[in-house]
């Protein structure tokens, strides 16, 4: 089966006055139709920038510097990273084939337009020009995302709704045109724990109903375990480990993933007073990064002269399981994106 979305060596940089921020620097992954891919990593590792790149809504001074984003659209494949793609072609895809739900439900809706207006806007752009039909679909969508009295709610404004309700409205807007891919960028982070579970379940149910694929961005491993088929672990602008949820959880290879998994407190497994295995150090800023393993200054298994000289390439270690680490492979990612081989000094 060919993938729905195929991101290849995506590089999105911000040319700021302080230097080049390589927010996304060689990210590759695929999303199959109807599957859920989790994108996980610490704050600032480039998850949102990856999502924005796919939507082509990266804010200035950010720019896609290279790579390809192939999207399967009714038999033909479009490269969303292609700078030659026109604005109107992109806008036709946005909101119709791919849509996005954001982290901040409190601010992601316009405060001065009614909910109905904001749902109809997408419908008018991609589905129907008929006001009556649009209203019907809007009411139906609101009902599907679990909003009571949709006929009345449609005339209300976002400030009349709770955070969880607003996120439901956002989901209704995102799914109104039945996209093939939904990008959910930490859709539950800003919500209460009980509401989080409800929203998660809602996305899961609607995914089955609408037969769509989901790219689920989070920094919550629990969420990944619950809803994802496969997972891509990001660190400092790159995918460092990538595989099925099973493989990653039971057979983690990359030192970062290993420590990430160890850092989850397990109920009943932690002795009182024992510190959590938090990861030493903080995520460095991806500003003016020289070519090296991004994790080398926090890695306990770092190999001097190797890890701080080259970028490891993503290499297959098991079936559907790839790792970017010199402990597991000798391939180097070269500047131009091609793969080389490490020459280790004989021990």
């Amino acid at each position: 089966m060919s993938p729905l979305l195929d991101v290849r060596n995506l590089r999105t940089h911000f040319r700021t006055s302080d230097g080049i921020v390589k927010a996304v620097d060689g990210v590759s992954f695929t999303v199959d139709p109807q599957e859920t891919l989790g994108l996980i990593g610490e704050s600032g590792c480039g998850k949102s920038v990856t999502a924005h790149s796919i939507m082509r809504i990266v804010p200035r001074p950010g720019q896609i510097e290279g790579g390809e984003i192939h999207m399967e659209l009714e038999g033909e494949t479009v490269d969303l990273a292609d700078p030659a793609l026109s604005g109107s072609e992109l806008r036709a895809i946005r909101g119709r084939d791919i849509s996005m739900v954001f982290q901040e439900p409190m601010t992601s809706l316009s405060p001065v337009h009614s909910i109905g207006n904001q749902i109809r806007e997408t419908l008018f752009l991609h589905r129907t020009r008929d006001r009556k039909e649009a209203d019907e679909i809007a009411v139906d969508m609101l009902a599907r995302v679990g909003i009571a009295n949709p006929r009345q709610r449609i005339n209300e404004y976002p400030h009349q709704l709770s955070g969880g309700m607003r996120q439901r409205v956002m989901i209704a807007i995102a799914l109104a045109c039945r996209p093939r891919l939904l990008i959910a960028d930490e859709p539950t982070t800003a919500l209460d724990v009980t509401v989080q579970a409800q929203i998660l379940e809602l996305i899961n149910d609607l995914q089955d109903e609408f037969h769509m694929a989901v790219l689920y961005i989070t920094h919550d491993l629990g969420v990944i375990a619950e809803v994802c088929d496969r997972v891509a672990v990001m660190y400092l602008g790159r995918v460092v480990e990538y595989g099925t949820v099973r493989e990653i959880f039971y057979n983690p290879k990359h030192p970062y993933t290993v420590r990430l998994l160890r850092s989850i407190p397990k109920l009943g497994h932690t002795k009182k007073g024992e510190p959590l295995a938090a990861i030493r150090g903080t995520v460095p800023s991806p500003i003016n990064q020289p070519p090296l393993c991004g994790f080398h200054d926090r890695c306990e298994e770092v190999m001097e002269g190797v890890c701080d000289r080259h970028i490891p390439a993503l290499a297959e270690v098991a079936d559907r399981h790839q790792v970017r680490c010199f402990l597991h492979s000798d391939s180097i990612q070269l500047e131009d994106g091609s793969i080389g081989t490490l020459e280790r000094a004989p021990a």
Binding site: M55, R91, G95, S99, T107, P111, V112, Y157
Partner: protein, 326 residues
């Protein structure tokens, strides 16, 4: 909703009453009264006016009575449409004000419109093309406009327009000055309007542009803009429907406040331009303690302020659903 409006209305009336009272007292605070001014003026020309004559005049004008009685008398008359007499011109205040109020309103409305339309346009362009050459030019010109006194701008523009052969000063050409209203006189008026409109308007323009730029820059960063973009809304449409629309709210709410400022804040400019507005009239009345005229004009300004604020609130109310509910 109606309860709210009624309450607002009652507050308005109360506010106007209190301010008119306070301003009536304040006008009389300087030592002496209009009769003193009169005596000094006669003395300057070498004439001496008998004390008895002055006292008789005081009694005639009611100036011998305590302030609160004077106020009460004046205000009850005002309620019946009689604004009192001007001592200086020996004519009813209502007549004097009526002569100037139309022109004042015309210039105010024109310059307000100018200030807001141009200011909002400049603000939008500066924000959307932030840090572009255009943005820098507007910012520099805006600061110059804010920093330089209006009457200076008036003088400079007068010279420029005069040299270009345009009409300068006043609102009518000499031949129409005392002519009855006609089509030709109206056209003549239109020719004279742009100069005061631009001069009085520019100070406001700079302010409006700055507020609009700052608010819009703020709104452009908001998540709901990204949401709209992710739905596939075209950039121009998006700009007008969301951030500009939201950024207009605080701007709109200042329109009402600007009204009295434009009437009273341009006394010097109006004098330089020889405009027959109420500004210069208020100024000379205050200097001469011609109190009924001054009080009437201050009452008028207060009413404008209060009504302006009310208008602003109503505008905001209709624009912003967040306020509508509370």
């Amino acid at each position: 909703m109606w309860a709210y409006l009624t309450r607002r209305f009652l507050y308005m009336v109360l506010l106007i009453l209190v301010t008119s009272m306070v301003s009536f007292v304040i006008i009389q605070l300087p030592a002496g009264d209009y009769i003193t001014t009169l005596a000094v003026r006669y003395a300057a020309t070498g004439q001496v006016v008998e004390q008895e004559v002055l006292d008789a005049l005081r009694i005639q004008f009611g100036l011998d009575q305590p302030v609160y009685i004077q106020y009460f008398k004046w205000f009850t008359n005002v309620l019946q449409g009689d604004l009192g007499w001007s001592f200086q011109q020996v004519r009813p205040v209502s007549e004097l004000v009526a002569e100037r109020i139309g022109v004042t309103a015309l210039i105010s409305v024109c310059s307000l419109t100018f200030a807001y339309v141009v200011g909002i346009l400049i603000g939008v362009v500066s924000a959307v093309f932030q840090y572009s050459v255009l943005d820098y030019v507007f910012t520099i010109v805006g600061f110059l406009g804010l920093a330089s006194p209006n009457f200076l701008l008036a003088l400079i523009l007068m010279v420029i327009i005069f040299n270009a052969g345009g009409a300068v000063g006043g609102l009518y050409s000499t031949e129409y000055l005392n002519a009855p209203w006609s089509w030709a006189k109206f056209l003549d008026l239109l020719k004279h309007i742009p100069l005061p409109m631009i001069i009085v308007g520019t100070a406001g323009t700079a302010g409006v542009a700055r507020v609009m730029r700052a608010t819009l820059l703020d709104e452009l960063q908001k998540q709901y803009v990204v949401t709209a973009r992710s739905k596939g809304v075209a950039e121009i449409r998006l700009l007008f429907k969301y951030p500009i629309r939201v950024a207009l709210n605080p701007i709109t709410s200042t329109i009402g406040w600007e009204l009295p400022a434009i009437v009273s804040g341009t006394v010097i400019t109006d004098m330089v331009l020889q405009l027959p507005t109420v500004g210069p009239m208020l100024f000379s009345a205050l200097v001469a303690e011609d109190m009924f005229i001054a009080s009437s004009l201050l009452l008028f300004l207060t009413s404008l302020t209060v009504i302006g604020t009310f208008v602003s609130d109503m505008l905001l109310f209709s624009l912003d659903p967040r306020i509508r509910v509370n």
